[in-house]
């Protein structure tokens, strides 16, 4: 995997996975009511969370490869890679947090409420 591809995957992967998991759960909500079973919702949420964490880990590895520096405006590939890697770490973790926040109602509400 090229370095730039890894950086972009780590950065944009988290939001993309969150959107997919969220749309899938929204589409599955009527099904969960019909079959009185929320496991499909939980399953998609867990898969989404794992993939978001995977993107964060990918960005983390890129950040380590780029020298583990804080973000800066310096010139060159390393500072720019650091910048994108840090964006990727925080974005992916943030998206994982939204996946968890959206999973909370699944535990609080009954399938047909």
């Amino acid at each position: 995997m090229s370095r730039n591809f890894a950086l972009w995957t780590g950065f944009l992967g988290g939001p993309f996975i969150w959107l997919c998991s969220f749309e899938a759960r929204f589409a599955l909500a009527p099904w969960a009511c019909t079959f009185q079973n929320k496991w499909a919702l939980h399953g998609v949420a867990i898969a989404g969370l794992i993939l978001c964490l995977g993107c964060a880990a990918l960005s983390w590895s890129q950040w380590k490869a780029a020298g583990e520096q804080p973000p800066s405006a310096s010139e060159g590939v390393q500072p720019r890679s650091n910048f994108l890697a840090i964006l990727g770490i925080v974005t992916s973790l943030g998206c994982g947090m939204i996946v968890i926040a959206q999973a909370i109602p699944e535990f609080v509400l009954a399938a047909c409420e």
């Binding site: 590939v77 939204i98 926040a101």
Partner: protein
């Protein structure tokens, strides 16, 4: 930046350069020439002026509504006329003012901020403007021929369907959407290409100004959101004109499908308007606090996160429909999450202002006003994200208050700040600061007097979209206050216009960089010439104009005898190749007229789609017909 200095072995003197640049980039003469302009300053300013006229039109409609609601049982407007006025107001403000205004500002500013000479596709830029203008004329032609739409700016079926709204008014509305969205997609495509491939050498992603990040985010949002509304309006139009069955329940269609698709566009639309305004605020804060922005990375992150999360909120406009509660709860969660990313930006601006030496200019006053109003609007947004609370105030004036706090506070106040900030670059003259401060306080007072009482009216149960009410409801006093506020806002708008025209003629000469600002647009002359920069700048810092003058670098060796720009790499903005932009052309206007024949005619007869497609294809052949000699310097 020595790598950038020998791209082309040509070293004319500066005077020769400027003469050649002026010649290469000069506008064609005459009315025919005027219609052929393709420079980003000309097209951007046309967008800004047209959108400003739309702001005045939408404002006049708002005044008519507020006059009608001033007291109970008022007979100033009848119910049909009131429906037309609030629909045209919402449509004008959302589709014909807010988005095009933000696009116009971006078209003007982005090439300057990126250190290049024009947008990537100048003729597409011109085509987008003409499509927008024809969309404006199309809708208002309906308005002035007593066929104004009257189904709300969202035109929900079944109310907007052929059974309940016969005639052509809704067809005009639906097809106007297509015009403006084609225009928006043109602008988004050219701005993305400009930002990603035409930045000044050295302007790597970690050095891009936040305004440029905001426009990149907004443009991608347009690419993903606008097709949804074109689809929704096409469903509606085809149900109405050729009796398809997409969203018309009388024919077995699904009106909820329309709502989903409309709001999949409609909520991101709010952020499409609002995110560029965040970019304005960042530029103004940095320039007027005279210090680097605190939390640049966090700000970029928050803007992009806003852009993504905006696509996960649409159902919070549909909480009153019969959707599964678990499904609604997902949208509550994401609606609350977006408050975090918005809050991050507010704290970064406050920290920057707190630790800087802010000059209390009119532009910065508008930023302070934005922070106060937008935070209040955000708080009511969090309230509306909760399903039970939303159901209590659904379709009341509480919602009207909320979205005006968010949209006027979040977008229009920063926009006025941006006018005061960039007016010197647009015209070469300063706006009057004393009149500007009065302008701000009048607008701020008028705004809060108009919209704050609407929260209380909503909590008291006053519904939206009613043309009058009975005195027993007890809503008279608050409505009167809101109407007085609306007239104060109008007076504030008048003050702005007076300041604009006075300053245009008599304002102090600005010079290149009157604010000692940091970004590249201030390196160009004021007003910027057609070619923007005598030498294309190269960048060694995130704040390139705060680098000592003797350390600044620029690109030499690009040809000045043709419209040549430098294409750079996406990530690090390293010089890649030279690119020749096309000369001015009348073909974008001809193509827009041909497309308009197809779009407008199809409202009356479906065959116009066929004829419009054929003549549009012919226009495109003319547009792309190669000229001899092939070097655009000579065509």
């Amino acid at each position: 930046m020595t790598a950038t200095q020998d791209i082309y072995p040509q070293t004319p003197t500066l005077d020769q350069d400027i003469q050649q640049l002026a010649q290469s980039w000069r506008h064609p003469r005459g009315i025919f020439g005027w219609l052929s302009y393709t420079t980003h300053q000309a097209i951007g300013m046309r967008y800004i002026v047209t959108a400003f006229v739309m702001l005045l039109a939408g404002g006049a409609e708002a005044l008519m509504m507020r006059t009608q609601l001033m007291h109970s049982n008022n007979g100033y407007l009848g119910p049909e006329r009131y429906n037309q006025i609030f629909t045209t107001h919402g449509t004008t403000m959302m589709f014909l003012f807010a988005v095009p205004m933000m696009e116009g500002m971006a078209i003007y500013l982005i090439p300057l901020m990126c250190g290049t000479r024009n947008v990537a596709f100048p003729r597409l830029n011109a085509f987008g403007y003409w499509m927008y203008l024809f969309g404006v004329l199309f809708l208002y032609w309906g308005v002035f021929t007593n066929a104004a739409p009257d189904v709300g700016w969202f035109a929900y079926p079944p109310l907007s369907g052929p059974q309940y709204t016969p005639g052509k008014s809704t067809d005009y509305w639906a097809q106007m959407i297509t015009f403006t969205e084609v225009s928006a997609l043109c602008v988004a495509a050219e701005l993305i290409a400009t930002i990603l491939k035409m930045r000044a050498p050295g302007m790597s992603l970690n050095r891009m100004p936040l305004y440029v990040w905001s426009i990149l985010t907004q443009s991608w949002m347009i690419i993903f959101a606008m097709p949804a509304i074109v689809l929704a309006s096409s469903y509606l139009l085809s149900d109405r004109t050729v009796a398809t069955q997409f969203v018309n329940p009388a024919e077995g269609g699904d009106p909820l499908l329309y709502q989903h698709i409309f709001w999949f566009f409609g909520h991101p639309e709010v952020y499409i308007i609002f995110i560029p305004a965040l970019g304005f605020v960042s530029s103004i804060v940095v320039a007027h606090a005279q210090r680097e922005l605190i939390g640049y990375t966090a700000m970029v992150l928050a803007q992009i996160a806003n852009g993504f999360i905006a696509f996960g909120l649409w159902v919070h406009h549909m909480f009153a429909t019969d959707l599964p509660q678990i499904g609604e709860a997902y949208f509550t969660a994401s609606s609350m999450m977006i408050a975090i990313t918005s809050g991050v930006q507010i704290f970064c601006w406050i920290a920057t202002l707190w630790s800087g030496k802010p000059r209390l200019t009119t532009a910065l006053l508008f930023v302070y006003g934005f922070i106060a109003i937008f935070v209040l609007g955000g708080l009511t947004g969090v309230i509306l994200a909760s399903v039970p609370l939303d159901l209590q105030v659904h379709d009341t004036f509480f919602v009207v208050a909320h979205f005006h706090y968010v949209l006027i506070g979040g977008a229009v106040f920063p926009l006025f700040g941006a006018f005061y900030h960039w007016f010197p670059k647009f015209t070469g003259r300063m706006m009057n600061e004393r009149l500007g401060r009065i302008n701000f306080w009048v607008l701020f007072a008028g705004f809060n007097l108009t919209f704050f009482p609407m929260h209380i009216l909503g909590l008291k149960g006053m519904p939206r979209r009613i043309y009058t009410y009975s005195p027993e409801m007890g809503w008279d006093q608050l409505n009167l206050l809101a109407t007085i506020g609306a007239y104060i806002i109008a007076f504030g708008g008048l003050l702005f216009l007076v300041n604009l025209f006075w300053s245009r003629k008599f304002g102090a000469i600005a010079g290149n960089n009157p604010w000692n600002a940091d970004s590249l647009e201030w390196a160009a002359a004021s007003p910027a010439p057609n070619y923007n920069f005598e030498y294309l700048p190269a960048v060694t810092s995130r704040y390139p104009l705060w680098v000592p003058a003797e350390e600044r670098t620029f690109v030499t060796g690009t040809r000045t005898d043709r419209r040549e720009v430098l294409v750079t790499t996406l990530m690090d903005a390293q010089p890649h190749h030279r690119y020749i932009l096309p000369r001015p052309s009348i073909w974008p206007l001809i193509a827009a007229i041909c497309v308009t024949v197809g779009f407008a005619g199809s409202v009356f007869n479906g065959w116009y789609i066929t004829w419009g497609t054929i003549i549009s294809a012919l226009a495109l052949i003319g547009w792309f017909w190669p000229k001899r000699p092939l070097d655009p310097a000579h065509d």
